[in-house]
Structure formats: structure tokens, C-alpha cells
């Protein structure tokens, strides 16, 4: 039984990481109606930029390599790069496509994915970098002693961070003026424009926030598995989470992440051996697909009514 719980908890914790990436998607979708396929590339770009700055900063400034100052300086610089990237995206890609069909915007973000991946590697190189956040990936002792279950400190830290991020974002959307404007823009570009909401500011803000979320996700994923090209595939992990949770719901991303994470690991352990293993790659998609047939708008999504 403790094995079952171990798998379950491991799955839930990795689900939190999926949710973190999915959160970036939800933010942009909620505020601009754009399904940003480039979120995975942004995660990669953010993590690579952070690591890149961490490596070059000691040489530029004479600061001690690996120190706290360098860490925060790199963090700020990476965040600034993400904000610049977001604003550029808004100016160059999104603004000319206002009022185009959603599918066109989606395809534009697929183009953006390739662009960002190429630029990230052209600047920082394609090597795999290690990333140390200073939190050890080791089991928590008292949980191991009392319940005989291995729970990694790092995972718990990541989960806490994700939880805090989600809570603050939910509050931001619900209770601030900017948050309200964001929701208005998401509902209808044109209507929001006509009542005087500055569309480009809102989009710039939202892409900057999404860049911040991507940076946090990138740091956590990077610390887990190294900063490398494979980080872009986190986007593919986050998609079924989105379908399950609904594209417009921040809590949906979390709940979806937990469900996908847990069911994926459980399926791999208990169903996988029957069919030859390796089902982690597609199981979340099939699960999400099955779910869509029952409830097309996802768990927490808004029901969409079509009129002619």
C-alpha cells in the first residue's frame, strides 16, 4: 500500500510542475484569447537565459560565481529579458493579428515557438546546463520514518511555490483593476477596445506575467532535469492538463495538473506493464480526450454557446 501512495504522491508532485507550465497558457488565454503554443519555448528561453547570465555575470562584474548576488541579478536580468520578449511578441506578432480567427493566432504562436527556440540557442548555445537552486532533491526524513513514503524536499518546495503563485494570480485576476481589464479583453477584443481599455498595455502586461511564470517554471524544471532543449516539451505535458482543467481557469490548471500527474504515474506503474510500458507519452492525451467527449469545455471551463 505504501508503494501505491508513493507513486500517487510522486505523481501529484510532478503534476504540480505540469500545472505550473499550464498556468502560463491559462494566463495568456484568459487575458487575450490566444492559445500560446510557445509557452514551452518560453520556459526553455527563460531557464537558458537565467543560466546563461549566471555563467557570464561573474566574468563581467567580478562577483563571486555561484553566489546569492549573482543568482538574484541573473533572475532579474532573465525576468527583464522575458518582459522584453513579451512586449516584442505583442508588438510584432499579436498586434497585426488582432481580430483574426483564433486558429490563425494559434498557428502564429507555433511559428513563435520555432523563433524563440532558435534565438535562445543562437544566443546561449545548445549545451545542457545544470541548475542549482540550493534545495536538495532528497527525501524528507520524518515522512520517511513515520509513513515509510519517500517524498522529495525539492518537490514539496516546488509545490509550495506553485501554490503561492496560483493563489496570488487568482487574487490578482479577481480583485484588481488590471485583472478585471484582462478578463474584459479576453471576452471580446473589440468591446474592450471600445470602452477604452488599452489593448496593447494589457497584452504587454499579460505576456510579461506569463514570462515570469515561465521563468519560475523553467527554474524548477531546469533544477530537476537540467536546462536543455527537452524543456520545450514541458508544453506538450501541459496541454492535456489544460484540456482537462479548461483553458480559462487558473484553479483548473492546478486540479488538471494534479489529476494528470497522478493518473499518468499510476497508469505507467499499474497498466504500463500489461502493454509494454512507455505509455506516459500518450496516456494523458487519451485521458483528456476521453474526458472531452463527456464535457467538451473541461472541468472548470466556460460553456460556449454558438449563435448564427
Amino acid at each position: 500500500m505504501s508503494f501505491f501512495f508513493e507513486v500517487l504522491i510522486g505523481g501529484l508532485l510532478s503534476g504540480v510542475l505540469y500545472a505550473l507550465v499550464a498556468l502560463g497558457f491559462v494566463l495568456i488565454y484568459k487575458a487575450s484569447g490566444v492559445f500560446n503554443f510557445a509557452q514551452g519555448a518560453m520556459v526553455f528561453f527563460a531557464a537558458l537565459t537565467f543560466v546563461g547570465f549566471q555563467q557570464v555575470l561573474p566574468g563581467w562584474t567580478g562577483l563571486e560565481a555561484g553566489g546569492r548576488t549573482v543568482f538574484w541579478l541573473a533572475f532579474v536580468l532573465a525576468l527583464a529579458s522575458m518582459v522584453v520578449l513579451g512586449i516584442l511578441t505583442e508588438k510584432v506578432v499579436l498586434r497585426p493579428l488582432v481580430n483574426q480567427p483564433h486558429i490563425t493566432l494559434f498557428m502564429a504562436t507555433i511559428g513563435l515557438t520555432f523563433l524563440v527556440e532558435g534565438i535562445a540557442q543562437a544566443i546561449w548555445g545548445a549545451n545542457v546546463h545544470g541548475l542549482d537552486l540550493g534545495i536538495a532533491d532528497e527525501p524528507i526524513e520524518w515522512v520517511m520514518d513515520s509513513a515509510d513514503i519517500i517524498v522529495s524536499k525539492f518537490d514539496v518546495f516546488a509545490a509550495t511555490l506553485a501554490g503561492a503563485l496560483v493563489a496570488s494570480l487568482a487574487l490578482f485576476f479577481q480583485y484588481t483593476k488590471v485583472g478585471r481589464a484582462l478578463r474584459a479583453v479576453a471576452d471580446d477584443h473589440q468591446a474592450a477596445l471600445s470602452i477604452g481599455i488599452p489593448l496593447q498595455h494589457i497584452w504587454a502586461i499579460v505576456w510579461a506575467v506569463a514570462g515570469f511564470v515561465a521563468l519560475v517554471a523553467g527554474l524548477i524544471w531546469g533544477a530537476r532535469s537540467g536546462v536543455q532543449f527537452a524543456l520545450t516539451f514541458t508544453a506538450l505535458k501541459a496541454l492535456p492538463v489544460l484540456i482537462l482543467g479548461g483553458f480559462t481557469s487558473v484553479p483548473g490548471a492546478i486540479v488538471g495538473g494534479l489529476i494528470i500527474g497522478a493518473s499518468e504515474k499510476l497508469a505507467e506503474v499499474y497498466v504500463g506493464p500489461m502493454v509494454g510500458g512507455g505509455i506516459e507519452g500518450w496516456f494523458p492525451y487519451v485521458l483528456a480526450l476521453g474526458f472531452l467527449l463527456v464535457r467538451p469545455e473541461g472541468l472548470f471551463g466556460e460553456k460556449h454557446i454558438d449563435r448564427v
Binding site: F106, M107, G111, A122, Y285, D306
Partner: protein, 355 residues
């Protein structure tokens, strides 16, 4: 001056409804076909045939498949490569397991397998749309490739999952030189492209476009969205499947399931965006563009840097240019190269006196 339809009168419905209503178009098309069937085999060397012309033709077919689904029926799919894989492995298995299976029949049966799988994965489109569906087609992409790797039966128990295509033979004639393979591919692609062109002009094609433009309204005027969507999935997957079979038989010879990756699916999507969404002609232009661009870049980079080209720069530059081009085309010319072609023809009609 040369391209003017003055004096060409249409006296019957048939004449009015032909694919190329203008005589110069008909002649031009015949000239192009004659050029590719007769002249190219004589002047092209092995490299051009094997590395450029055959893949362009095959990808054009796959792009036509995706264009039918995305451009005409409005259902975005990110799983085209998976349907190509089904076609390739289907054709391989039919030819392996049934003695004396003719090549063409094997390819068609492979395509039909892909169509069946396509319909199965198209079923969710009845309830979901837009990018929900795009994400759902990723399920096909991952599941099919996984299944082909995991069940060795599909690849005749080859441990690595790699299949080696059988000899291509039709009525005792073996297609084993590049020229003969090229001609075979060209013939199949030409026939299927013509079929596609006619199909999208038919009732079926019009119902696809109605569903694409507004599915609720289409339903109101009596088009069955379910029927339209599923036929779109079936026909589209059939085309992708045949393209996959040709990919294995006339292009590569040996293929593995991982070759039909998400990257290939994206490439096919790029072909239709750049070539022109909702255009058969655009599928050809897009495929040619996407196949030629990396080769062109490589040549340019080599002449610019010589032997001292920094490693990895080429592939990164390719990513950047691909991504940039997609965005550029979506913003500036959403109808792709096909639209430019059309504009050119319109300009030509007025030339030399544009008003």
C-alpha cells in the same frame, strides 16, 4: 497580352465548370505536366531526383491531405505525420503478409488503413473544435508512434521497429532507379492531386467549406456537420497515408516509426501555411518551399562562412527563419504563396495596360 481570355466563349455548362476555364491555363498546365513527365527525367541528375523532387512530391501529397482537413474543413490537426506512419506501415504489412499483393493496391490499402484510423481520431471533432481539437490530434501523434514501436508485429518483429520497404514492382517492371521511382511518384501524386482538386469543387468539398466557415449555420441549411467532418478526416488521412507509403517506398526505403515525429507534422502544417491554406496549388508550392529552404540556407551559409561555419548555427538559423516566415506569412499574406500566384495571374491579365 499573352494571357487574356478575350474571345474564349463558354457555350455549355461543362465548359463553364471545367477546372481550367482559360485556354492559356490549360495549355500552361499541360506544358508543366509534360515538362515534369518528359523533360525532367532526362535533365535531372540523381541528386535532384532523389533528394529534392521525390520528397517535394511526397510532401505535397501530405500537404494536400492536411489542406483538405485544415484548409477546406477547418479542423486543425497536428497529427499528420502519424497518419503517414499508418499508411507506410499499413502498405508494408499488406505487401508482406499477402502474397502477390500488387504495389498500387498495397499503397491504396495502406491509405485506407490511415483513413480508418483518421476517422477514429476524428470522432472527437464532433464535440470539440478549435485548438481543443488540435491538442486532441496530438493524442493520435503520440499514440500511433508508440503503438508502432511497442508492437513488433507491425514491423515484422524487427527489434528496432525499422522496416525495409519491399521492392516496388508493377506488372513485372521493377522500379529501382531514381528516374523510375520519380515517375511513379509523380504519376500517383498527379492523379491524386487532380482527384483532390475535383473533390473540393464537389458537393462534399462545398459542405466542408460550409462547416469551416460556420458550422452552426451549415447545420441549419441542411449540411450534416458530422458527415462532413468525418469525410474530411477520412480523405485527409487517406492522402497522408498514401504519402507515408510513398515516403517509405520511393523516397527512403527504410523507415522507423520515430521518423514520423511531431516535427514532421509541424513541417507539413508549415507547408500549408506558407503555401496557402485552402489551396491545392499551395500545397505544392509550400512543400517545395519547405524542402528547398534548408538546402538553400546550407548553400548560402557555406559560401558565407566556408568551412569555418560555427556548429549548430545552421540549424538554429533554420528554426529562426522558419518561425519568422510563419509569422510573416500569417500577418502579411494569410493565403500564402498560392495567393501571390493568383495575384500574379490577375496582374498578367491586365498587362501591359493596368488601370
Amino acid at each position: 497580352m499573352l494571357y487574356r481570355e478575350a474571345g474564349q466563349f463558354k457555350a455549355s455548362y461543362q465548359e463553364d465548370q471545367q477546372i481550367f476555364p482559360i485556354r492559356q491555363d490549360r495549355m500552361g498546365f499541360a506544358a508543366i505536366l509534360a515538362f515534369f513527365f518528359l523533360v525532367v527525367p532526362m535533365i535531372a541528375d540523381q541528386y535532384w531526383l532523389q533528394a529534392i523532387l521525390i520528397p517535394v512530391l511526397i510532401f505535397s501529397l501530405a500537404a494536400i491531405g492536411l489542406n483538405i482537413l485544415t484548409g477546406y474543413a477547418g479542423q486543425l490537426s497536428l497529427g499528420s505525420a502519424a497518419f503517414m506512419a499508418v499508411g507506410a506501415f499499413g502498405a508494408y504489412n499488406f505487401m508482406l503478409r499477402i502474397d502477390g499483393m500488387p504495389f498500387i493496391v498495397g499503397v491504396v490499402l495502406g491509405g485506407l488503413c490511415a483513413a480508418a484510423v483518421g476517422v477514429a481520431f476524428g470522432l472527437p471533432s464532433l464535440r470539440i473544435k478549435g485548438f481543443y481539437l488540435a491538442v486532441a490530434t496530438l493524442a493520435a501523434q503520440f499514440f500511433i508512434v508508440w503503438a508502432l514501436v511497442k508492437f513488433p508485429w507491425f514491423s515484422n518483429n524487427a527489434s528496432s521497429g525499422v522496416i525495409t520497404a519491399q521492392r516496388v514492382e508493377i506488372l513485372g517492371y521493377a522500379f529501382d532507379t531514381p528516374v523510375s521511382k520519380y515517375l511513379l511518384t509523380l504519376a500517383i501524386v498527379a492523379v491524386l492531386a487532380l482527384l483532390a482538386k475535383n473533390l473540393v469543387r464537389s458537393t462534399t468539398g462545398r459542405s466542408w467549406m460550409a462547416v469551416r466557415d460556420m458550422d452552426v449555420a451549415a447545420e441549419v441549411i441542411g449540411i450534416r456537420p458530422m458527415h462532413a467532418k468525418l469525410t474530411a478526416f477520412a480523405v485527409s488521412s487517406f492522402y497522408c497515408g498514401v504519402a507515408g507509403a510513398l515516403y517509405a517506398y520511393t523516397y527512403l526505403g527504410t523507415v522507423e516509426p520515430e521518423g514520423f515525429s511531431l516535427d514532421l507534422s509541424f513541417k507539413i502544417l508549415f507547408m500549408i501555411i506558407i503555401g496557402g491554406v485552402g489551396s491545392i496549388m499551395g500545397s505544392f508550392l509550400g512543400a517545395a518551399f519547405i524542402v528547398l529552404l534548408p538546402i538553400f540556407l546550407n548553400v548560402v551559409m557555406h559560401s558565407a562562412f566556408g568551412g569555418s561555419m560555427p556548429a549548430g548555427l545552421g540549424s538554429n538559423l533554420e528554426l529562426i527563419i522558419f518561425g519568422g516566415l510563419i509569422i510573416f506569412f500569417l500577418i502579411v499574406e494569410p493565403h500564402g504563396l498560392a495567393r501571390l500566384w493568383q495575384l500574379g495571374k490577375e496582374k498578367l491579365r491586365l498587362w501591359p495596360f493596368p488601370h
